[in-house]
């Protein structure tokens, strides 16, 4: 996949309550050339979504403290910001497919960094074409 577009124009919001994993995921996505935002919980994520129009991808963990877990957050984002692509990761492998929002991509943790970047590339390519 050639980089005929500017990845920096596409922002990814990473939501992860585990600070070490959040930092690592943000580094990985930043290294791949995307703009990245990080949130430790659903409430922070929603307020970042409201502030930054550039966010085109939500990359969230499922298990998070608080009233809203990653799946609920993903559905909320799908409802309020339909064009935002959604990637979900969880240590529980068996997140039922029907519980994912439409077109949601699932990765079980620990995920291979390269396949996350590949998935982001695919999403970016569709955004640029569309």
């Amino acid at each position: 996949m050639g980089q005929s577009y500017d990845r920096r124009r596409i922002a990814v919001l990473v939501v992860e309550d585990e600070p070490l994993l959040l930092m690592d995921a943000m580094d990985m996505i930043e290294d791949a050339g995307f703009t990245v935002y990080g949130a430790a919980n659903a409430a922070e994520a929603i307020s970042l979504m409201e502030k930054h129009d550039a966010i085109r991808v939500l990359f969230t963990d499922v298990d998070m403290p608080g009233s809203m877990d990653g799946l609920k957050l993903a559905h909320a984002v799908r409802d309020r910001w339909p064009p935002v692509s959604i990637i979900i990761a969880s240590g529980h492998v068996n997140v039922a497919h029907e519980r994912l929002p439409e077109n949601g991509i699932f990765f079980s943790k620990p995920y291979p960094p390269a396949s996350i970047v590949t998935a982001l590339d695919g999403i970016a390519a569709r955004i640029v074409q569309g």
Binding site: P65, G91, P110
Partner: protein, 351 residues
Amino acid sequence: MNSLGHRLFALSDRVRSTPVLAWGIASAAFAVALQTRFLFDHLLPPGFPYLTFFPAVIVTAFLAGILPGAVCALACGIAAWYWFIPPFGTFSMDTSVLVALAFYVGVVGVDILLIQVMHRAVDGLREERARSRELAREQQRLLGEQRDRERQQRILQRELSHRMKNTLAMVQAVVSQSLRNTTDPKLAAGLASARIQALARAQDALTATDWSAADVETLVRTAVSAHDDGTGRFQISGPSLALEAQRSLGLALAIHELATNATKYGALSCDGGTVTICWNSSQVNGFRFSWIEAGGPEVAEPLRRGFGSRLTERVVPAYFEGSAKTRYTSGGIEYELEGTLRPDDTDLARD
């Protein structure tokens, strides 16, 4: 046993356990039998002195038990002897009277004995049945306990698997971070391996049945053990506090970075340098941790933020939902961490 039988045996139980009733029935049975015998005396051919007394003895022995039955039998025997064995109205004794009385004693004796045997058998059956019921209940209870245990174990296994995945994800992050921050793969491998060992040691400090918490002192002592040369360089003090698992792993990683740094450049790099580690819980749910080096060479703030300082300054405070300050002093590093001891209770509910 049919329901009439049930009722009869139940009635017998009640009478046998109530002396007033038992003796009342014995007296009544005797009185009715005597009355009836007198009533029908003129209708009966000679030779039936005991006719109405047998049922009285059987009914009494069955309902009221062996002693009232025997007493009733004795009274009946005496009454029959006096009024209904010729010559009437006296206690006369000859061979035929003796034979008649002996027959009477034999018959009522067998009656009472058989009734007693029957009662014993029924009581035995009942006990057996009660024991079976008790056993069945016990079995149900054990089965229930086993089901509970299995459910508990499944929950524990799921939780354990989840923690394991999380730990592996942390290891992956530690490795990728170690690789990011240095160009020498050998050096990166060494750093990564030391950090993974620090995580492994912290895992040892996690106690409780489900690895959900660690005692801070155990955690700190375990974390510095690899850097302690046994010359009393560490002064460790603080209250006994249970620290939730993720915070424990985070704190252990921070201590590892601080200790590694101190061994290379700080108080642990020269003779006589010491580290004072203190912690306490302040206010409601507050937690404060400090690492203060003394007697080391002067340290300067590094120009470049590596994984170690990003970890101690940014990542670990995030575990504690707080902040951290690092001061570079003439005796080494002073690191202070402030945050919460445990997650907000309202945030505890996980899906």
